[in-house]
Structures are given as C-alpha cells and as structure tokens.
Amino acid sequence: MYLAPDGDELGIAQAAAEFLAEAMSIERLHRAACADMSADLRHALGGMGWFALALPEDAGGSGLSAVEHALFFREVGRQCGPVDVLAQCLAATIVEDVTLRSAIANGDAGVALAVEDGTRLRIFGSENAAFMLQLGRDRSDLYPLENTASEPRASLDPATSIRLLDRVPTAVASDTGDCAWRLGQLGTAAMLVGIAEASLDQIVDYAKVRETFGKKIGSWQAVRHPCADMAVRLEAARAQLWFAATAMKEGRGDAGVHLDAAKYLANQAALANADTNIQLHGGIGVTDEHHAHLYLKHALVLARLFGGRREVLGRLLHAEVED
C-alpha cells in the first residue's frame, strides 16, 4: 500500500513537467491563435512518446499504467493543456490499424474530442485535426473530420476551441468497452487536480510578496484561511485521484466508483480553487494578462467532460466499494 508518486513514477512526472513547461507553457494562452494543439506542438508531444504512454509495448507504446497517465495529465492541467492532448492519447488506444495508430501516436494525424450535445456533436480541438473521437461508457468511435463541415462557436476558454457538427460521418475505428472512457475520465480528473494545484501555488506565491497596510497579505487571516481551505480541497482530490488511478492499474472491481468520486472531487477543487485564486489576487486577478482566469475557464470545460457533477453523483449514490 502506497499512495503517492514513487520510484520511476516521480521521474515520469518530473520529465512531463519539464517538457510541458517548455513546449506547452500556459504563457502560450496570452498569444493569438493559442487554442488547441498546433501541428508543431502535436509533433513535439508525439515525438517524445507522450501520446503513447498508456499504449501497450506491443502496440508501439511505453506500456505504462493508468498511474503514469494520471501523472502526465496532472502536469498537462497545470499548463491548462488543451483537451485534444487527451483525445490524441485515447484514440491511440482504440485503433487496431497499425499505420493509423502510429500516425496518431506520433502526432502526424490530429484527433479532436467529440461530445454528444442533443442531436449534434460538439467538437473540442484543432480544426486541423484529421479525426474526432467520441467516447461513451460502453463504446468509442473515431470519425474522419476532413471534408466535414462544422460550425465554429465562440469559446469562453482560450485553451479550447469549440465547433458544432450536424451530421455524424462513418466511423473509421470503433471499440467496445469502457477502457478508453475511463482513461478519459482519469485524465480529465488529473488535469483538474493540476489546475487546483497551480491555482493554489499562484496565490501562495503572491501572498508572500504583495503587501497591504504594511504587511504581506499572506499574514491576513482572511487570506490565509481560504488558502488553507484550497490546500485541503486539493489534498482530498489528489488523494482520491491517486486511489482511482491505482485501482484502475490493478484492475479492481470498484475502480469505476473511485473514478467517479475522483472526478467529482477534482471538479469541485479546480473550480473552487480557481475562483479563490482570482478573488485573493484583488484587481490584478481579473486582468486578461494574468493566468488566474485561464485556470477558471479551462476548469469550466473540463468539469463538464467525462462526468459533470450531477452525472457522477447520480452513479455514486448506490455504488459499492471493496475493502
């Protein structure tokens, strides 16, 4: 029993953090045309093997587990990484065709994420993506996007572009089962935990330097105590994330229940921490040049994917866990 990153896991988390801080820093979101993965970024991530982390070795991947997947996406979250990073990883796990799979895994072919919205599909990710991935709890389908007309929509979140599609094309690859969906839920929860962490780090740093009335704001209890609450929420969400990732890795029968709990707690922690981070920054917190609003807006997208609050709570109520 051990529930914190350990051994090789630490190395992977650190490598991911360093790579992403270079290649996909949150600073990018203050520049024009910053949404989604650019083709360059996609190739950079693919070239380093990040899309193939959880892919079995005989399928050309690193053969690592849900735990490393969660560690990687936590770092993605800290940089408000785009949703198509996740779609790209998940698509690689459902495609049987070797050529297509390697094109996805190495970043040659882009994949966006598609989510059912009434009779239409809502697409998150680059308009240059060749495919879109739609995931359900019992099946996943990969569709071609080229030559498919979609309607661009405005997006609150600078990290994510959104389009709507009326007509669903014919799938090029499909998979039954919930494995990809679960990796999606875990990855999203991990990104939200990353956002909750980054928000806390940001306000703690600021509280140590900003002064009012001759004192650092971090010495005022009206600042200290909400920071402590942020730390508590984060700690709970992170512990449950590690539990869920490990339960998945070990194939426990109750992994789905722990994932739902992890997603719920990650939703709440990211939204609340992003909120408090803005408030405790004062005026600078509402400016466009600051990161604080980026965490909030990205959390609002992620909190709706792979189980919003009502959906996961509905499943959790009567779910059973093992010893």
């Binding site: 914190a4 402590a228 512990a239």
Partner: protein, 392 residues
Amino acid sequence: MDLQYSDSDRDFRQKARTWLAANVPTTRRPANGHTSAQYDRDWQRKLYEHGWAGVAWPKEFGGLGLTGLQQVLWYEEMARARAPHYINTTYVALMHAGPTLIMRGTEAQKAFHLPKILSGDALWCQGFSEPNAGSDLASLKARGTIDGDDIVVSGAKMWTTDAQHADYQELLVRTDPDSQRHKGLTWIICDMKSPGIDIKPIRTMLNDEHINMVFYDDVRIPKSNVVGEINGGWASALATLSLERGLGFIGDQLELYERVGRATDMAGKLRLEDGTLAIDDSSIRQKLAALKADALAIRAMTLADIAETDRTGQPGPKGSMMKLLVTSAHKALSELVGDMMGWDFLEFDGDRTSHPWTYDYLWSWVFSISGGTNEIQRENIADRVLHLPRAR
C-alpha cells in the same frame, strides 16, 4: 503507487472481523454517569483479555505492534461491526497519555501506568486548557511550586473531559513563575484522588456533563510524576498534541463511509413532509452522494498518510487538513439527516445511543472546537504546509 494488502493484513482484517462480530456488546452504552464509564472499562477489559488492546502501541509496551495500515483495518472493522465508539472515557489514556509516556516517560512510569491503561483499569483525562488558555495554550497560568520532592499545584483547568471518571490526568502547569509562554511549563501525572482537587461539571448543549472545571488547591504531586523535564513540559505537550492531531480521529475518518451508507439506507425509508421518499429528493440524493465522495477521499488520504508514516516513521503535517475535512463532513452529514428526519430529529433526551444523529449533530461543534479549533487548524496549514507569513 499500489493498493495491495499483504497476506498478514488480510488475515488481520479477517480475524478482527470475526472477533468483533462475536464480541461487540449487545447492550447499549448508558448515556451518562458512572455506569457509562464502567461500560467503557468493561469493553476495554474485554479487548485486553482477548488480545485486542493497544492497537497503536508497540509490542514491547504491551500493545499489538500493528503497522499503521493494520490500524486502519481495525478501525474500519470497528465501524462495520458498530463496536462501542472509540472516543469514550478510555480515549485520552489510550490515544495520547499512554503514547506520551511511551515516548517521554521514565521506566517506572511506564511500568506502572501502561498495563493499567491497556486493561481499562486506569482512565485518564487531559488538563491542558484553562479558562484563559485554549487556542493560546502557552499562556496558561496554573502554578506548580517546587517544594522538596513535590510539586504543589494551584489554579484551575477548564474543559477537562471526563475528569469525574478519570484516575489520572495529563496536567500541564507553570513551574517557573517568571517564565513566559512555552518556557517554564511542566507536564505531570496527576492522581485525580489527590487531596485538594475539586471537580465541577459543566453542562453542555449536548445535555450532558462530560466536561469539567477542575480546581487545584495546593495539590501535592511527587516530582517523580514529571514526564520529560521540569520546565521542559512544552516538548512533552507537543508530543501529546501531535498524537491527538495525528491519528487521534482515525476512527471518525474511517467511520464516515459507514455513516453515509446508513444515512442513505435511512433516506430509502423516510418520508419527507410532502410524502415523498427522502431518497427521491434530488437535492438529498446529491448531498448524500457528495458526502460519499468526501468519505472516499478521506479514506484515501488516511491510507496515503498511514503508508507514508509506515515508511518514514514520521507522521506528516497533514493532521490539520484531515481534521478540517472530517469535522466538516460529519457536520454536513448530520445536518442533512436532521433535515430528512423532520420533527423526529428534535425529540432528543440527551442520550447518545437513542438519538445518535441528533447527538452527532450537536457533537459536531465539539469536534470542530476541541483538540484545536478549525480556525487554529487553518492557521497550522497556513504556517506549516503553505509557509505563509505568520499571522501571530
């Protein structure tokens, strides 16, 4: 990361489950008075006689020498079996007095006191807080004057839980009259039958008299009862407090999941004032499920902390986080059940066992105030986890 239990962990759980199923008392604990303390002593003696006493204690001091993880299993099984609640009149002795002696007591103190604690023969209370020293414990004023081989204590302690039942007390007094704050304090074992002690119960909002004012009028305590150094009591007090804040609430952490389950079962039977089943009310459903997620996270945090402690031998700084989470979740759960129960919730006669949900609701303030208020826990987190500039 891994979630594996070893074979011996699994064996331990199975043995505990079987034993508890056969041995948990079927009679209710009396709500108040001498008979309630006797009930606790009897249960502790039974645990002792069957080899279950001292789950957190090392073997060489008569405990079970369990790993942290096995302690988690023990408390989970206690909750499942609905065993007598571990926060009872034996709590101070087992959870912090005994362990403080193990860390800082003399050989003679250990030899005399530890067996009595394990067998339920000796109950302890904690005399730290005073009328004007609670959160700011270091400002305490009770005097201990050194007189030959004795320390003569005068002054008052407040909030002392179960003082009227206790045989001994963890007593913290100022032995250096010129000292300031943390310096000049001494931690002594006070025999509660010593002449000069006067105990005045304080009635609480729970309708009980578990807490007390304790007055000391020239109470003579032999110097051999000092734990740690004379005037070096703060270090021993910190040891006691770290035990209280570390695993002190482990039972509540693990019990929460069971309690959410019980509340959910109850919601399946209770009708709300408009006739609908409580479980069909979407706001109740969502709150129950959210509390279940909280309970799972608290369990995950407990396991993470325990595993870390088993590995490093040092408890981490997370106790304050845990106390905030667990006190808030317990309060939210009892508020929710209170809302579902309607008028029945208000028919409370002060009996913990006949109206457990109302009792727990009232107890939620005890939980978030005693052992360091939630505000003080936030201060600890700000200082020790986040390293923010000090408020004080």
